[in-house]
Symmetry: C2
Subunit: 257 residues, 2 copies
């Protein structure tokens, strides 16, 4: 039986999930998607994701892949069929057939996360789900000076949890910076991969340092310390969104049959 | 003791409320605001609203007024103090002192409601709270031809529930029309006031008539029938937002002390 390898772009509101990855208890995004695919296939389907987002973290562009044995649904319409099995806080946005070698996690070359802070004094109820209120008036220039040294290959032990299971704490950050967008302050960071709590630890620390009007080289010192106690604050999950994931060209060659 | 009359602009996500008005059971927006003001005043405070929105209906610009005996909070900052007592799905956006004669409900001259339909095939999780998915490809021109006859003074018995308690079912509609906005189809209607379920009955019927490619005079016939059975469909609460409320100039003369 032909088994297509499908790549789907997924968006979700992470509020009511204990995270991406299936756990012994609690509602997970992976669990909800696997249940939906299980109903469609009448047999279990395993799903791989580019980023295993934490409890309360959202996604606009999570990428997943899985094998399907259903022949009757064209690849570009597969996400529509899946949506009729999914709850409204998880939506499949696009779908395409990809080469058998494609793996959402291991093939990914660049992951982009965004952290949203509301700049207004009042956080509109419509925005509260995807943005966190800033408790001080930020200085965009200082924030960008503080975050510039993050770019490059570093040991990020300071900005992860001791529980992090990766052998190496070295990750490569390709870009990091703040910009204003529709009344919000957005921190965007991209890299080869991220350690557990890394983005939230970095952004929480940057905002805390901005508030204290710290010197631009303060992040350099903190990175070099390789010590978790140098994380000033871990920003709340609600502001973090897995924005986008990139793959090498040969993997992006999607077979739209 | 001086008792200022305060006018506040309120936004809320109606999802987790059984409506504006305090009821015997269930979480209401009025109840939550009165509880917050009660905590601030250490005595009960009664709040009046421009529109008593239904269960699940949202507000971007609900207007309320109440009397306060608290002297220490300047009127333009009153909403900030109140927000610290409110849950995150209700926010006070602005506050101002108004003349004693101002009444949020009885002084209002024009109420504007918006109904949001998502135009994309997929309703993004971020939008699902404030928009409803369209089940057919709408024709903007037909929709606007169908809705034009709503403008003016009409008996809206067709578009309300028999339980509506107002003696008269006559209301004046000042404007009604559809327009596209950020990938959404918005129906905006303004009028002197609205009967129970009136906006949702009108928009639900308009969309159903558009789907059936009805003649432009079909709404004229339905209005004239003065019969609830001529409502084709009542649109879901989630798409409806109390957008804005207007008051006469003398009432708008806010005393920003």
């Amino acid at each position: 039986m032909p088994r297509r390898n499908l790549k789907l772009t997924i968006a979700y509101d992470g509020t009511d999930f204990v995270g991406w990855q299936v756990q012994r208890t609690g509602r997970t995004v992976q669990g909800v998607i696997q249940d939906a695919l299980g109903s469609m296939h009448r047999s279990p389907v395993t799903v791989y994701a580019a980023g295993r987002t934490d409890s309360g973290v959202h996604a606009d562009g999570q990428i997943i892949n899985f094998r399907t044995t259903i022949d009757s649904i064209p690849s570009p319409e597969y996400h529509i069929a899946l949506n009729s099995y999914l709850p409204s806080d998880v939506r499949a946005i696009m779908s395409a057939e990809v080469p058998d070698s494609f793996h959402a996690r291991y093939s990914a070359t660049r992951r982009v996360y965004r952290y949203y802070y509301a700049l207004s004094d009042v956080l509109h109820p419509r925005r509260r789900i995807f943005a966190v209120r800033l408790r001080h008036r930020p200085c965009l220039q200082r924030l960008n000076r503080l975050s510039a040294p993050l770019i490059g290959s570093h040991d990020f032990t300071t900005f992860t949890l001791p529980r992090e299971t990766s052998r190496s704490r070295v990750r490569e950050v390709y870009s990091a910076g703040f910009f204003p967008l529709h009344g919000q302050l957005v921190f965007e960071i991209s890299g080869s991969g991220f350690l557990w709590r890394m983005v939230r630890s970095i952004v929480g620390t940057l905002l805390e340092l901005d508030k204290r009007q710290a010197e631009p080289n303060e992040m350099v010192r903190r990175l070099a310390a390789c010590n978790r106690t140098e994380t000033s604050a871990c920003a709340p999950a609600a502001g973090l969104v897995l924005h986008y994931v990139e793959y090498p060209d040969e993997q992006l060659h999607e077979q739209r049959i």
